[in-house]
Structures are given as structure tokens and as C-alpha cells.
């Protein structure tokens, strides 16, 4: 309460409190330019700031929802759920952390897999849920990814993965490290079968996920401004004892250093990936089903 409201008689103060009746979260501030945005507009724009084109983080389900055609979707691997087999306990029990993350996100773990179509092209698409323990990769994420790759291999469908992860899940100790080898082995098999794998790196893709499946795409595509790297910037700063250059480990930095094929605006991803896949698969070109809502500046 500020000094002004303290001066007001209590009756008026109560009326002033009515402002709280406005539904919370109707507005959202852009994390980059600070513009106050009407949330419905922001969601319609796939959480890209209409003012500065900043790509805000987006949930896994929302991501797949916006990416896949509305019809004929099927979730895969949803029956696989986490299990605290090591009885891992730090300042908190892993079991409790899992329960909290599940409540918070309404997901059972940090990767969601769906079979469906993108502008008519059949695909298997998966997306990391960063809000679920930092999108960390443990046994469930690894297994669901492999099921996605297997489904893609069996049905001859390309695989697309949107990564957003801090890395391996420490609470599953060496098992989570082994998920790096597991997912990489599955990608090796896809490659041998000539099935395309497109890795879309989104903010952030770090550690064990970037050092395995996320860097192994036939095409590595990044969203603008995403933080992508092996070691976290703070760790590097502590090691080299100097401040890091502007834009270090951002998508544009990776493009410049040759690590990724292209940077694509989120609002164009659907159409451009469909077109890229059609080329790799020798499919006939067809016009996009629906024009994108808003083209970027």
C-alpha cells in the first residue's frame, strides 16, 4: 500500500480494491522490449511479441497444437511415466519434485510426442516442456523420444523435435546421462533408414540435450534469439573469468559459427518445415493450407 492510499478513508480504499476483479493475466509484458501486450493477441501470435518479434517460451502442448494439422493427431508414449527408482533426495525428494512439476504443468513428464500431419505431410513431432523440471531429460523423456523415432521408422514418417531443456535430469544420475547415448542411437538408426529428422532448437537448449539429440538433426533449425550451447553461460564465466560477448550462445551466434542450418521465425515454422520435408521426401509441392496470420517484420 503506498502513501497515497493510506491517506484515503477506508471506504474509498475498499472500492479501489475492485481493480483486482479484473481477471489476472489479461495482459503480459514482453520480456525483451517491455511492451504491455494483450494476452489474447499474444497467444494468437504464437507468443511472439508483435512489437519486437521476441520469441517467448511456449508450452509443449501449445507448441504441437499450433504446429500440427487439427485432424488425425495421436499422442504416443503417454503411458510411460516417471519412477523415482534411486529414491533420490537433495534438499527435496525427487518424488515430490515430480509431483509438483506434474501439478504445475498438467503433464506427466517433460516430453510430449504426437503423430499427425503438417500441412498434409505425415510426421511424428515431439516437444520438450521446459516448465517441467527445466525440460530435463531422464528415462521417460529418453524412452518417449525412442518411441517417437521407432514410430517414425516403422511408418516411414519424418521426425521433428522441438527442444527446450536445461540438460540431463540429475535426479536420475547416470541413467539420465545414458539417455544421451540412447536417443543418439535411435537417430543413427533413423539415418540408416533414410528418414529425415529435423531438430528445432528453441530457448533454451543446453547441456545433455544439446550434446545429443538436438544437434543431430539432418537439419538443425533454431528459433530467433534462443540460448543454445553445451555449458551454461554462468559456468563458462566462472571458468574463463571474463564477461561473455554480447549474443554469445544465441541462435544468431550459432548460425554464424556454422552449427545450425537456419533460423526460422516461429510463425513461419509450420509452412517452411512442411516445404522442406516435401523436398527431402520428394513430395509434390502444394500451397499452404492456411496463410500465416501475421508475417514478421
Amino acid at each position: 500500500m503506498n502513501w497515497f492510499s493510506k491517506l484515503l478513508p477506508s471506504r474509498i480504499r475498499t472500492q479501489g480494491g475492485d481493480k483486482k476483479a479484473v481477471p489476472e493475466g489479461l495482459w503480459e509484458k514482453c520480456g525483451s522490449c517491455g511492451a504491455v501486450l494483450y494476452r489474447a493477441d499474444l497467444e494468437r501470435n504464437q507468443r511472439v511479441c508483435p512489437k519486437c518479434q521476441f520469441h517467448m517460451r511456449i508450452g509443449a502442448r501449445q507448441r504441437l497444437d499450433g504446429f500440427l494439422d487439427p485432424d488425425g493427431r495421436e499422442e504416443l508414449g503417454g503411458e510411460i511415466t516417471p519412477h523415482d527408482f534411486l529414491k533420490f533426495r537433495d534438499s527435496q525428494k525427487y518424488r515430490d519434485r515430480l509431483t509438483q512439476a506434474q501439478k504445475k504443468t498438467d503433464e506427466s513428464d517433460a516430453l510430449i510426442v504426437m503423430a499427425g500431419r503438417v500441412e498434409g505431410v505425415p510426421v511424428v513431432a515431439c516437444a520438450f516442456e521446459f516448465a517441467f523440471m527445466g525440460g530435463s531429460m531422464g528415462s521417460v523423456v529418453g524412452e518417449r523420444f525412442v518411441r517417437a523415432a521407432d514410430h517414425a521408422a516403422t511408418h516411414g514418417m519424418p521426425l521433428i523435435c522441438f527442444s527446450a531443456s536445461g540438460g540431463a535430469r540429475m535426479q536420475e544420475a547416470l541413467f539420465s546421462l545414458m539417455q544421451m547415448a540412447k536417443t543418439s542411437a535411435a537417430i543413427a538408426r533413423l539415418r540408416r533408414k533414410g528418414i529425415p529428422f529435423i531438430s528445432v532448437l528453441t530457448d533454451p537448449t543446453m547441456g545433455g540435450v544439446s550434446a545429443s539429440l538436438a544437434m543431430l538433426g539432418d537439419l538443425n533449425i533454431a528459433e530467433p534469439g534462443a540460448l543454445i550451447g553445451f555449458a551454461g553461460p554462468r559456468v563458462i564465466e566462472q571458468t574463463v573469468r571474463e564477461t561473455l560477448p554480447e549474443g554469445f550462445q544465441r541462435s544468431e551466434f550459432l548460425l554464424e559459427h556454422g552449427a545450425i542450418d537456419a533460423i526460422i521465425d516461429r510463425r513461419e515454422l509450420r509452412q517452411r518445415l512442411a516445404s522442406l520435408l516435401s523436398i527431402l521426401l520428394h513430395r509434390r509441392h502444394h500451397a499452404p493450407v492456411a496463410p500465416s496470420l501475421e508475417s514478421p517484420a
Binding site: 535426479q171 541413467f175 538408426r189 545433455g208 559456468v235
Partner: protein, 318 residues
């Protein structure tokens, strides 16, 4: 404090110092102190046995990083003949944090790759404390592909705190270098045996550790993150490293129980550095035996088993 001994070994160090003192006195003294010395020596042995019988995971982590512990090149020189080191990734540089080359084990040609730490300060810096940069992993990859072309089995020795977290390493694609090794090793058409000889630090270790058989020296460790790193993230304090070491179960014994490690190679009392010859002999036995077995196996079956091994990792409800 005797720096050749770790903190928990200091009682042993004190006894050893006493024995040394007596020896010096013994030279110019009439009294027979030989008896006293042998009494103290057997006490020292008992004490060591007692301490080493119930080491905590944190104590084992310290042993795995012991400054006197044998490194890859020590094992290479003791185990093999005709070793010829091969340098460079053919693209950017030669990374001294990873060494590799062709050699023979009891006459059998093979290719060996390992992380390499330095012994004195200058070499430590040159070897970057055993933390490879992307060119190190790309050298390893180049050598593995060489091994595949010439049907040489690959032995790797793992001993790193992790891949180097530096600006240049990121610029040159540390992630991609590690990821590519995982992918290629998962289908490399030649047998691969990996041995963790010291620290198995995260992705930087795994990048030369995808294999048909994984073995660990008794006091080596293997983990997804260092105990200090884990503690500072999950406990918000690096002082909790002993707790993190225990929670992660990074010891050979625990990982063997969990089915992640195939074989534990015994170390002599007090650790590998107390009797390098003994350690080398144990390592030679297990490597020869495993090589015999793997080289007998048809390659396609070996590769299918390797694939199933990695696809099978993970514990979940389904």
C-alpha cells in the same frame, strides 16, 4: 599434512612417517628396530584395510582424482607395445586432453583413445586438466573411423572432469562434437571396450564411452555431473558435494548393482597408485578376456546387441 595421502588417509600417513623415521635411525643404531618397523608396517596395513573397507562415495570421488593416480598414458605404456600416438582432428588442432593411437596388446593390434590429465602444473595446463575441446572429440572420432576401416578393436580410457566449458569450445561446437561421437559410436563396426580409470565426468566422458563392454576400476567414478556441480545446483551449496556424491551413486560398486557397468576391475589396497603394476595386471587380464569374447562375435550381432544395450537404458513405469 602429507599431500601424497588424502585427508581420510592421514592416520596412515602418520604411521608411514614414523616407519620412515625409524628406518633413518636404524642405520646408525645398535638396537634391533627391524622388529618395530615390521610391527608398524603390519599396523599400517591393517589400518589401510580398515579405512578402505568402508569408503564413502565422496572419499571414492577423491581417490578417483588422486594426484598420483595413473593416467591414460601410464596405462598405455604399461599395457601395450608398439604404441604410436596419432595427433590432430585434421581440421583445426591437436587437443592434448585426448590422446590416441595404434598399439598392440599381447601382440593383438588395436586402437586406443583416452582422456589425458597432466602430472605437474605445466603439463596440467597443457592438457587442460583432462577437459577436451571439440577438436579432441573430433580427433577421437577420426581415429575410431580409422579403426573401423582397418578392423581394429577400440579401447577407450575415461578420465575427465568433463568437456571444457570455454568460449572457443562453444564457438567450435562442443555439443555437436559430443553428439556426433555418440551417434557414430553407437554403430561403429568394430568392438569397443571402455574403461573408466578415474573420473567419468558427464557428457565429456560419454563422448568416448559408447561401447560393447563398460568396465570401471574399483575406485573410479562415473556420473551425470560432478558432485560439486550437482550440490551447487540442487542444494545451492558446493559444500554439500559429499551428499551429492552419495545421492548420485557414482561408484563402480553401485553402478554395477544398477546394471550400468559390466565389470569392476579390482585395485590394490590403497588404490591404483599404490601399486601400478598390480593394477595394470588386473586391467590386462580383463581387457584380454573381454577382447577375446567380443572379437569372436559376428559383427552384425555385436552391433545389434550394442543398440539394444543403449535402447534398454532407463527406468520408468509403463
Amino acid at each position: 599434512m602429507n599431500l601424497n595421502f588424502l585427508e581420510f588417509e592421514q592416520p596412515i600417513a602418520e604411521l608411514e612417517a614414523k616407519i620412515e623415521e625409524l628406518r633413518l635411525v636404524g642405520d646408525d643404531n645398535e638396537i634391533n628396530i627391524g622388529e618395530e618397523i615390521s610391527r608398524l608396517q603390519s599396523r599400517s596395513r591393517e589400518l589401510t584395510e580398515q579405512i578402505f573397507k568402508s569408503l564413502t562415495p565422496w572419499q571414492i570421488s577423491q581417490l578417483a582424482r588422486h594426484p598420483q593416480r595413473p593416467y591414460t598414458l601410464d596405462y598405455i605404456h604399461h599395457l601395450f607395445t608398439d604404441f604410436e600416438e596419432l595427433h590432430g582432428d585434421r581440421a583445426y588442432a591437436d587437443d592434448p586432453a585426448i590422446v590416441g593411437g595404434v598399439a598392440r596388446l599381447d601382440g593383438r593390434p588395436l586402437l586406443v583413445i583416452g582422456h589425458q590429465k597432466g602430472r605437474d602444473t605445466r603439463e596440467k595446463v597443457r592438457r587442460n586438466f583432462g577437459m577436451p575441446r571439440p577438436e579432441g572429440y573430433r580427433k577421437a572420432l577420426r581415429l575410431m573411423e580409422l579403426a573401423e576401416r582397418f578392423r581394429l578393436p577400440v579401447l577407450t580410457f575415461i578420465d575427465t572432469p568433463g568437456a571444457y566449458p570455454g568460449v572457443g569450445a562453444e564457438e567450435r561446437g562442443q555439443s555437436e562434437a559430443i553428439a556426433r561421437n555418440l551417434l557414430v559410436m553407437s554403430q561403429l563396426r568394430t568392438p569397443i571396450i571402455s574403461t573408466v580409470i578415474g573420473e567419468g565426468g558427464s557428457g565429456g566422458a560419454l563422448a568416448i564411452g559408447v561401447c560393447d563392454r563398460l568396465q570401471m576400476l574399483q575406485y573410479a567414478t562415473y556420473s551425470v555431473i560432478s558432485p560439486e556441480g550437482c550440490a551447487s545446483i540442487l542444494w545451492k551449496s558446493a559444500d554439500k558435494a559429499p551428499d551429492a556424491a552419495a545421492a548420485m551413486g557414482l561408484t563402480a560398486e553401485r553402478l554395477h548393482e544398477l546394471g550400468l557397468v559390466d565389470r569392476i576391475v579390482a585395485e590394490p589396497l590403497g588404490g591404483a597408485h599404490r601399486d601400478v603394476e598390480r593394477t595394470v595386471a588386473n586391467l590386462r587380464d580383463s581387457l584380454s578376456e573381454t577382447l577375446d569374447r567380443l572379437c569372436d562375435e559376428p559383427l552384425d550381432r555385436l552391433l545389434e546387441k550394442r543398440y539394444q544395450r543403449y535402447i534398454g537404458y532407463g527406468r520408468y513405469n509403463a
